[in-house]
Symmetry: C2
Subunit: 267 residues, 2 copies
């Protein structure tokens, strides 16, 4: 099932602002739906509430794990401006709220010429070609089933996670959706949370770092092809760590930036 199908949402005709949807099977990490996939679902509801505008800045706080099955998405449009709409959305299953989301939506038209003011003081990560990187194949546990929905090719220097950590909390690699499904704004929200946690490469005795909050900024829609991705952590301190993501398309344009705050297990 494509991401487009797995993230489809349907307006509830009886409840203004409500969409119903399903958390589809296979998008999970050991039973819990991937955070980027959940965000894509919420963003589709938000974008529909915003009359088709797309998320340019969207933040999710993760309240409870998402399991396969029906969900409800309630969106409230807080403002509609000439350029931006602000929408907040909650996702709930039968038992509880899973996700709280707040986003600003706008038109992101790939045909729009570049803004004349451009300045980028960074480069896409330097990596071998996808064929020379390390594919991540899904299993029932680790790597998780979710890896069957996407294609991930890790930089060989970063691919020893779980075995001989390189000591740098970083992952670089290529991303695309399964079957080369084009990556739209919602696909980018999957991409920003698709890589293994950076802590896996930190050489530290920490196995899992739940996401508290994730914010993604979408700068452009990507051209077709592999996306070049990099996730880094500089601050493991105060019981938390950030994970900063950059996603570039194959024309060398930055398409998305992300940061998530994850929590270390209590000592």
């Amino acid at each position: 099932m494509s991401l487009a199908a797995a993230s489809s949402v349907t307006p509830d005709p009886d409840r203004p602002g409500r969409h119903v949807a399903e958390i589809a099977p296979g998008w999970d990490i050991v039973g819990n739906a991937n955070g980027g996939y959940l965000l894509a679902l919420a963003a589709r509801a938000g974008a529909d509430a915003a009359d088709g505008r797309l998320p340019v800045s969207i933040t999710a706080h993760y309240l409870a794990p998402g399991k396969v099955g029906p969900i409800e998405l309630d969106s409230e449009v807080l403002r509609v401006g000439g350029r931006f709409s602000t929408v907040r959305t909650t996702m709930a299953d039968a038992d509880r709220t899973l996700l709280a989301v707040l986003g600003t939506y706008a038109e992101i038209d790939p045909a729009t010429p570049a803004h004349p003011t451009e300045r980028v003081d960074a480069s896409p990560p330097d990596m071998p070609s996808p064929d020379d990187c390390t594919p991540v194949e899904p299993t029932d546990t680790f790597p998780p089933p979710f890896m069957g929905k996407i294609e991930l090719r890790l930089h060989p220097d970063d691919a020893s996670y779980g075995e001989t950590p390189g000591g740098t909390p970083r992952f670089r690699g290529w991303f695309r959706l399964h079957d080369e499904e084009p990556v739209d704004a919602f696909g980018l929200l999957v991409a920003v949370d698709a890589f293994p946690p950076t802590i896996f490469n930190a050489g530290l005795p920490v196995a899992w770092t739940p996401t508290v909050e994730l914010t993604a900024h979408i700068r452009r829609l990507p051209r077709a092809g592999w996306l070049r991705c990099q996730f880094t952590t500089r601050f493991i301190t105060g019981g938390f760590l950030e994970e900063d993501g950059e996603i570039w398309d194959d024309t060398g344009q930055l398409v998305a930036q992300s940061r998530q705050l994850a929590v270390l297990p209590r000592a």
Copy 2:
């Protein structure tokens, strides 16, 4: 008036979840209240709704400028967990919604020993002492009245903004509140938006970049004294720019990290 007084909020006994407050005079940039100050006001309402827990990750979307006068803050607690509470808050004046905020709140106890897992791959910015940096003094226009509520000392290399831009979209400098008021979690929310926009130092023909969204992560409460701050922009692209902030206390600990998305005026 101290920040504590200027950001105080009062529960409305007739409306559960509602606080009333005032946008105080003097916290403005040419008539519009500073974004960090507005966020501090909203966070005080959110923290009260979260039974005194403090924001560890908080995001504000800016919908309309805040003017001096009464406001209402409506908070909804979405989840209370053993460690985290999630609260969303809106701020409105008599006419419209000004701010939409979503935050995760927790106890941040300065007496708690450091988590045993610590790793920081960054350093506080290297700067001359506050006495050897360039103070920013308030005027009615620029620098704005807000600068009278805080003390800002810019790195001399970054202080030529508006005159001879250095060409690097960065500000480094020292921050403290006026009268050496201790900086608590709410003071940190002011600090993350207290510096001039990085674009002022970019050597680009752009005068103003309104904030769409600001996210702050609070890692620790600072020890007393000056805070060492750095704000940088790497990506002016797609019509937007990010502004990444790091705030360190005078013991060399990272206390807060921030990122805001600002929009370039239409070409």
